[in-house]
């Protein structure tokens, strides 16, 4: 049994420390500083997996904590960027709504399976990585409208696919 108080989860939790300086940078109009904190937050997301491997402390809780941290950090940053006019509002609303829908579906899937489990979606992993990039594009003023509007249909397709897999298709390992 792996304790939830392990180095990998500490790295995951440290990502929240990027949020206050990020808000400070956006509030002051410092695009480069805001980009720096987005990059640090994104890199820490990669480092926690590495730390879990090195210290052999992988756990279901760690996976869920990582996914929840992704949602909170990226969702919060997107809201801040939209509020300050650095990102287009409609795609941000669409992304957050779809993200919340996906989280709800994962909870339902976990109930279907009968134990805490995170549905492994190869497509959603890529969408989450794209979300991190969206933050960087918005803070860096780099083709913001293009990247945000291209993202929405991709995320719709992935959420529809994952909805079918989680709610309709048979649960892996079940006899049904």
């Amino acid at each position: 049994m792996v304790s939830p108080y392990n180095p990998a989860n500490a790295v995951t939790a440290s990502r929240f420390l990027c949020l206050p300086p990020f808000v400070w940078a956006v509030d002051n109009g410092y695009h480069q500083w805001a980009t720096l904190f987005v990059v640090i937050c994104g890199l820490l997301d990669k480092v926690d997996g590495l730390v879990a491997k090195i210290f052999n402390c992988r756990s279901v809780f760690g996976e869920l904590f990582d996914a929840i941290t992704d949602g909170i950090c990226y969702g919060f940053c997107l809201i801040i960027l939209a509020a300050y006019g650095w990102a287009p509002v409609i795609p941000v609303i669409a992304v957050i709504s779809l993200g919340l829908t996906n989280s709800g579906l994962r909870a339902i899937y976990s109930k279907r399976v009968g134990r805490p489990v995170n549905y492994k979606s190869y497509a959603m992993e890529r969408i989450v990585a794209y979300t991190a990039y969206l933050l960087g594009f918005a803070t860096g003023e780099f083709e913001v409208a293009f990247y945000f509007w291209m993202f929405v249909p991709l995320m719709v397709i992935v959420v529809l696919h994952d909805t079918k897999r989680m709610l309709i298709d048979a649960v892996p390992g079940s006899t049904a």
Partner: protein, 74 residues
């Protein structure tokens, strides 16, 4: 407190290279993984999920490269 870490030109090229290199690598990496799954049984849910995921990865990689080209060529 300085509001800029580097000059605007350096910042733009940092974003360009960071996005372009990662997006292109992502495109090639997922395309190779997708090709390797050609002979696998598509009725297997895991294989199906992988194919779909790698396909999305290829599209995202292409979007990343297109955005960089659009920024510099438009």
């Amino acid at each position: 407190m300085n509001d800029q870490l580097v000059s605007h030109t350096v910042f733009v090229w940092f974003l360009t290279l960071f996005t372009g290199i990662v997006a292109f690598t992502w495109f090639v990496y997922d395309a190779i993984k997708l090709l390797r799954l050609r002979k696998e049984d598509g009725r297997d849910p895991v294989v199906h999920d992988k194919r779909f995921g790698y396909g999305i990865g290829v599209v995202i990689g292409a979007v990343g490269v297109l955005g960089v080209l659009k920024y510099h060529l438009a």
